[in-house]
């Protein structure tokens, strides 16, 4: 049985979400302050856990998040925890965090997320779209 593909279009208060089980890729992009963050993130976290439980293929998570409310931060940490756990058990997982280089606090926030994690976690500037 193949893993379900997640595709959520961005809304005013939630990010665009796309998962690709074939490619082993999960992408989140935009702002996240949904009314119920736990409800919003639940299928995303479940997808990651399912993917990691199924086979041994690598999983890359690409994040382009410009704003997160407090409960979304908590959910994002839960997701990163699941990735870290997989990494510590020998799985090939990685996170790429794209930040807005024109926002002078965005890099600090990305580093705060990376703190305490040992999995490959790249922080790269988002190319500016002219």
């Amino acid at each position: 049985m193949t893993l379900e593909t997640l595709t959520f279009a961005a809304t005013a208060s939630s990010p665009r979400v796309r998962s690709d089980a074939e490619a082993g890729l999960l992408e989140l992009a935009g702002e996240s302050y949904p009314e119920n963050s736990f409800e919003f993130f639940q299928p995303i976290l479940a997808w990651v856990e399912d993917f990691l439980a199924r086979d041994d293929r690598p999983l890359g998570v690409e994040l382009r998040l410009t704003y997160l409310n407090t409960s979304s931060i908590k959910c994002m940490m839960d997701l990163l925890d699941a990735m870290e756990e997989a990494h510590l058990s020998g799985r090939a997982v990685s996170v790429t965090w794209f930040y807005d280089p024109e926002n002078d606090r965005a890099l600090d926030l990305a580093e705060e997320f990376r703190e305490d994690l040992s999995l490959p976690f790249r922080i790269v500037p988002m190319p500016s779209e002219g």
Binding site: N69, T70, I73, R105, D108
Partner: protein, 253 residues
């Protein structure tokens, strides 16, 4: 001190391992329990007590939770700071005319309303000037809108520089400027109006080998007892049109 043997993914076990900045608040009850646990552990009588390792794990879980709470709070504060900074930028932008960089109509409305209330409450005088560039359409038609824009920018800065520190000059519309003169009666307002007219006459903007000069028609209105903001502006506007009808580049009202 021993490290956690349970879950290897957390490196922290004791309060002392936490960087100071991650514990910005006190939790005396937890600290008391922790030191009591240390005492129990040190007592040889408790060596085989199966509850102790469980309690230690509970303590570790509590510390991790604290640390997580602090981290979430810190990141959340960071995002909130970003929003606050962005809000200030937007707030400033919403009051600024994007072409000339001087206050816009919205800002003038707010300032004028506040100044009117203050004048009514505290007594005193208040005057406004409506200033309009003469034959501005001809400048645009002859030299193009880019030159017209440069005239407006140069003029806006000249007007601002000619004013006293507490006066406010805003771009009211296309080539129209409204000037707020707090605490100013008719003689003072006339003096400022004439100064502005002269400042406008003094500027030249180079364009297509020529130098563009403009005249300024200024209408003056001094607040009357019980008068509304709309009425005050309307009177200044009317005086400005009178100045235009009399050939422009003059002060009326």
């Amino acid at each position: 001190m021993a490290t956690t043997e349970g879950n290897p993914r957390f490196r922290l076990t004791r309060a002392g391992d936490l960087p100071a900045r991650t514990l910005p608040y006190r939790d005396p009850e937890a600290a008391g329990l922790r030191s009591r646990l240390e005492e129990l552990r040190a007592d040889p009588a408790n060596r085989d007590n199966p509850l102790l390792p469980e309690l230690e794990r509970l303590g570790d879980a509590h510390l991790r939770l604290l640390r997580r709470l602090v981290k979430i709070t810190r990141i959340s504060d960071g995002f909130q700071g970003q929003l606050k900074a962005l809000n200030e930028v937007l707030q400033q932008a919403s009051r600024t005319d994007s072409l000339t960089g001087i206050p816009n109509r919205r800002a003038m409305m707010e300032d004028l309303r506040a100044e009117l209330v203050r004048t009514v409450r505290e007594g005193g005088a208040l005057a406004v000037l409506m200033a309009d560039v003469d034959r501005f359409k001809a400048v645009n038609d002859t030299y193009g809108h880019e030159t017209g824009d440069r005239v407006l920018v140069t003029l806006a800065h000249a007007l601002r520089d000619a004013l006293r520190g507490y006066d406010v000059c805003a771009r009211w519309g296309g080539e129209e400027f409204l000037v707020l003169l707090p605490g100013t009666c008719r003689p003072g307002a006339l003096e400022v109006a004439e100064k502005l007219r002269k400042a406008a006459s003094a500027i030249t903007v180079p364009a297509a080998g020529a130098h563009v000069a403009v005249g300024l028609s200024v209408g003056l209105a001094v607040l009357e007892k019980g008068e509304s903001m709309d009425s005050l502006i309307r009177r200044a506007d009317g005086a400005m049109y009178l100045a235009k009808r009399q050939g422009g580049n003059r002060v009326e009202g």
